[in-house]
Amino acid sequence: MLRIRCPYCGERDHSEFRYGGDATIEYPALDASADAWHDAVFQRENPRGWQRETWHHVHGCRLWLIVERDTLTHEIRSVRAARPDIAATLEGES
């Protein structure tokens, strides 16, 4: 069981969350070519070590989060709200 420190709810079990995916992917514009979309959707890294990834606090505040996690040790280095304005607000509070 991972423990994830949601910036809105506090530290919670990972069973409250749903894993999203690689947060470093830059999705092409909707009118971009199929090749560009192919690379974004299918050409994925599978890093051993640190990865930025998205998690959804489904059974909590429902914020989408950017989590920095070591895929080998599960150590979590940072958790931020994915939306920059929400992240700024939450970090301003603390």
Partner: protein
């Protein structure tokens, strides 16, 4: 004959007597006994038969490593197999039976296997029954599965009850600063140090008494130390949980515990659960789990009456039971001497065979002064005595080889082959154990996690040093979690005066005598060597080939011995062989405890629409749709499902009928960019959707596959009401949230689930408009001019009930969907139903809903299964060519555009009187093979067409298969049925009926 000593047994209450039944006979014991100590006290030595060879087995240990005394506890639905008698707390009325023997434990026909054992070595079953010449005819999985049934019957453990478990279990949660596992000297000292520094400490003990090894000590010193520590821990506010096992350590300091709440009672009293599964979140963990004594490999080393040396001492000092009157002790280390003296002082004749050639030392002299005879350089090479050891053969070591050296009569043999720290929990976290040659054991490896190991689990052998080791770990833990604690010095490892001798096996002077390594799975030393010779030279392969360490004890007694023998065979050091991977659980965990209360109706959440009771009052039979309860059909008296749904569907086609559609996902999409957002999400042209209009919409995944379909209602300039399928409501909401927060954070739009806030009813049929208008405060709001097809209006029902209405149709008839705030759901149904009745209308459930949509070729989750493109579903024209939406780039991939992909089709039986099954494959006539050409997703009897129809997918679609021979193949359930492939819209293809 009772083996209970005249007095003593510090932790049993000898003033009270408990009665229990073993194998049908009545016996007595005392509170504080385990079943094992009570059986030994009653002189019972054979308590089970072994797994493979059916050899008689007795109690071998006094703890969780037990491999011999596996019994079946309880009767009837509470019958529990493979329970370790050494861990079973005795209670009044306990009933237990031996296992794996017929007709009786003392005379078991299965013991014939022992005679045949020359053939039953490692890999025997695979080699023989998976087919080798001349048995080639018996080769293959099918044959193996047939043999396996019989093999399993002969080789086995206890049998679980087939009846439902009458007991409840529960799951609960806890937090603590420091979790201390184990309450031996190290655990108690650690807990006290951490708790007194101020930390919130949870102490867990698997036994029913805290104290660990202190309980086995005869002297007053250990008893006093234990008492004082327990008092101090309690005074410092820490919690001690007994009868609780930490079975697994997980990421981020999370521990899994099983508390055996009422296992020590005949049945759980009142509302008590039988067991409780604790999920504990810790900041720091101290493992003071002790060490487990190993045995030695020698001939017939499994005879009843052969125990670990520490167990002999425990039975005497803790329970007041002498394991024998003439006791032989075989050892390769110092740890047995205190016990040998205790046993001699209790009146037993004790002879020690110490395999080491050692000089005089104080320990030996002290033992000799107590009357213990000590032989050096000697050990046991074989035991005799079928139902209990009576004689042992002795060997003497000369220049490294073992030579026969007489025999010794005895009625108990205690063995110590060294100690293995209990490092399973630590290793579960991925820290590789490290072999320590001088101590002859694996020690916990390095880890970055907040886990500390103290006492014997860290290779510290003496009680006094364990105490200091625990205190040091407790202080470290308290400091690590932020409390002021004085650092204490950690003692050195080891602690024996004379070093251990790396002795693992004493060969039997006679060949073909079994020396067991893993008693529970009957793995012998020869099996290990055979596996090595056959090339299974990785320890993981060795494990799987011989099943070493795969029994319920997970190799607690035998693994290190097996690894040592393998290392010897390979000529490698033990450190090069290593251990197998440790995984949870440390000890067996009942599935009931993991499931907790999530059984029967609590297995998953239950969702009911606000009209649930209303439907029941109308006689609805309910069914599950995901988590939802929905009306399935509304039978008139004695009406079958089939005749009910056909009648209900016909009502919708001919007059008017009502259907609860509350379970559809409903999402409010609001904000200045809501329109732009939806235009990017749905493939349809939505930019021009005007206020007061709705549209059918389809969303794709990034990869161009259909994700979901639904309707989009534009209620206002910046206010949209979106419906999804029942099945995908949660997925779609999460997806929309992801898009807004992760991908397009600049869009000013918000999504809110309002599924539970609005109750919905579909009103379908030629008379739906008149019916609905009669229910409205302003009846003309649903006139065809004011509310054309796909029109949306916000109106009020009679009684001033606010209502959203759209003229949309899933049934293909003139139809409306009306939504009211949830609390008004039953009132809306009352109003609509009253009007429906006067028109001979009716209600329709999920089954009739299915019929109507199949007739029209409309889609549900059965078709949108995550593999289907717009074109496959016949919806290619829905995609706007003038815009780009999610998935619109990748849906253009050539392979997704090929004409021979499976396409949605309708299916008729050629003989209209025939039927076929959903799930059947569509195959070419006379070519019922492989995956066929397609498959059937849904089947119904169509009242409109008067015969059975289906929907499905077939390669190339209807154009390719018109007038060709196709069959619905379902070989398991019925004969192939000839079918006709037709266009998916099987009823009213022009859609005229939508307009009433």
């Amino acid at each position: 004959m009772s083996s209970r000593v005249g007095q003593g047994g510090r932790y049993v209450d000898r003033d009270q007597v408990l009665t229990f039944r073993w194998e049908g006979g009545e016996y007595t014991g005392h509170p504080g006994d385990t079943l094992a100590s009570a059986l030994l006290a009653n002189g019972i030595r054979v308590v089970g038969r072994s797994f493979k060879y059916h050899r008689p087995r007795g109690v071998m240990s006094a703890g969780t490593e037990e491999s011999g005394a596996l019994v079946t506890l309880g009767v009837g639905p509470r019958r529990d197999p493979n329970v370790k008698a050494t861990e079973t707390e005795l209670y009044d009325g306990l009933q237990a039976h031996g296992q794996n023997a017929w007709p009786s434990l003392r005379f078991d026909l299965g013991a014939l296997n022992d005679r045949l054992s020359r053939f039953l070595q490692a890999g025997f079953y695979y080699k023989t029954f998976m087919g080798i010449p001349p048995l080639e005819w018996g080769r293959g999985t099918g044959a193996w599965m047939w043999y396996e049934k019989w093999i399993r019957r002969a080789a086995g453990m206890g049998k679980a009850s087939r009846a439902p478990d009458p007991d409840a279990y529960e799951q609960t949660h806890r937090f603590c600063d420091v979790l201390v596992v184990g309450t031996g000297p190290a655990g108690l000292a650690a807990a006290q140090a951490a708790a007194e520094a101020g930390a919130d400490v949870l102490v867990v003990e698997q036994d029913f008494l805290p104290g660990g090894a202190l309980l086995s000590d005869g002297g007053e010193t250990s008893a006093t130390l234990r008492r004082n520590r327990l008092q101090a821990i309690e005074a410092a506010g820490a919690t001690i949980m007994t009868r609780t096992t930490v079975f697994g350590l997980y990421d981020h300091g999370v521990a899994g515990l099983i508390e055996r709440v009422t296992d020590h009672l005949p049945a759980p009293p009142g509302e008590q659960p039988r067991q409780r599964f604790w999920i504990v979140r810790t900041r720091r963990i101290i493992l003071a789990t002790g060490a487990i004594e190993r045995h030695l490999a020698f001939g017939d080393n499994d005879r009843p009456g052969i125990l670990t040396a520490a167990a002999g001492r425990t039975y005497l000092n803790r329970f007041g039971v002498l394991p024998g009157r003439r006791i032989a002790v075989a050892t390769n280390n110092d740890s047995i001497y205190t016990g040998a003296m205790d046993l001699a002082n209790a009146g037993a004749d004790v002879v020690v065979l110490d395999g080491r050639d050692m000089a005089d030392n104080a320990l030996v002299s002290q033992a000799e002064r107590c009357g213990v005879t000590v032989y050096r350089g000697k050990s046991v090479s074989r035991a005799h005595g079928g139902n209990g050891v009576s004689l042992i053969e002795v060997s003497r070591r000369r220049q490294g080889a073992w030579m026969p050296d007489g025999s010794l009569a005895c009625d108990a043999l205690l063995v110590s082959g060294g100690w293995s720290p209990a490092i399973a929990l630590h290793s579960q976290r991925g820290a590789l154990p490290v072999w320590n040659e001088p101590l002859g054991c694996f020690l916990p490896g390095e880890t970055d996690e907040a886990i500390d190991v103290a006492g014997a689990a860290a290779g510290v052998w003496t009680t006094e040093a364990c105490d200091r080791s625990g205190a040091a770990a407790g202080s470290r833990a308290a400091a690590a979690v932020g409390y002021a604690a004085t650092p204490k010095e950690t003692p050195e490892r080891g602690g024996w005066a004379q070093p251990l001798d790396a002795l693992y096996e004493v060969p039997s002077p006679r060949k073909h005598v079994k020396s067991f390594v893993d008693f529970q799975h009957d793995v012998t030393a020869d099996d290990i060597r055979l596996a090595c010779r056959e090339g299974y030279v990785s320890v993981e392969h060795l494990k799987r080939y011989t099943t070493l360490g795969m029994a319920t004890d997970q190799g607690k007694m035998g693994n290190v011995l097996g690894i040592a023998l393998m290392a010897e065979q390979l000529g490698q050091p033990i450190s090069a062989v290593g251990t197998t991977t440790f995984r949870p659980p440390y000890t067996p965990v009942s599935l009931g405890a993991l499931t907790g209360r999530a059984v029967d109706s609590h297995f998953k959440p239950l969702r009911r629409t606000p009209m649930h009771d209303w439907h029941l009052a109308q006689g609805a039979v309910m069914t599950e749709a995901g988590l939802w309860q929905r009306p399935w059909y509304y039978p008139r008296r004695n009406e079958s499902l089939e005749s009910a749904y056909i009648r209900e569907a016909a009502l919708a086609r001919n007059t008017v009928a009502l259907c609860d559609v509350t379970s559809l996902g409903k999402i409010a999409v609001q904000g200045p960019d809501a329109g732009e957002f939806l235009n990017r999400v749905y493939v349809n042209a939505l930019a021009k959707l005007s206020v007061g209009k709705a549209r059918y919409g389809i969303m794709l995944r990034d990869d161009g596959i259909v994700m979901d379909d639904g309707t989009i209602w534009r209620l206002g300039e910046t206010d949209y009401f979106v419906t999804t399928t029942t099945a995908h409501a949660a997925t779609v909401l999460a997806w929309l949230e992801e898009l807004l927060e992760v991908r397009w954070p600049a869009l000013k739009a918000r999504v809110t689930s309002i599924t539970d806030q609005w109750a919905g009813c579909a009103v379908a049929g030629p008379q739906s408009r008149t019916l609905l208008s009669q229910c409205l405060k302003e009846p003309d709001r649903v006139d065809s001019e004011r509310l054309p097809f796909m029109g949306v209006t916000e109106a009020r029902l009679r009684g001033d009930i606010p209502c959203r209405i759209a003229r949309i149709s899933f049934s293909g008839e003139l139809a409306f969907e009306a939504y009211v705030p949830s609390d008004y759901g039953p009132a809306m149904m009352d109003l609509l139903w009253q009007e429906a009745k006067t028109r001979s209308g009716g209600l329709y459930g999920l089954e009739a809903l299915g019929t109507l949509r199949i007739e029209k070729g409309h889609l549900t989750g059965a078709e949108l299964d995550g593999r289907v493109t717009l074109e496959d579903a016949g919806l290619g024209r829905m995609a706007s060519g003038r815009k780009h939406a999610v998935g619109s780039a990748l849906r253009q991939r050539p392979a997704l555009q090929q004409d021979d992909r499976p396409r949605l089709v309708g299916i008729f039986p050629r003989d209209r009187g025939e039927t076929f099954n959903a799930g059947a494959l569509l195959c070419r006539e006379n070519a019922v093979e492989g995956f066929g050409e397609g498959w059937i997703t849904a089947v119904t009897h169509s009242p409109a067409l008067g015969h059975w129809i289906g929907l499905g997918f077939i390669q190339g679609g209807v154009q390719h298969w018109q007038d060709k021979g196709v069959v619905a193949a379902d070989p398991i359930r019925k004969q192939p049925v000839a079918v006709e492939i037709v266009a998916p819209t099987m009823y009213d293809p022009e859609g005229d009926r939508l307009h009433g």
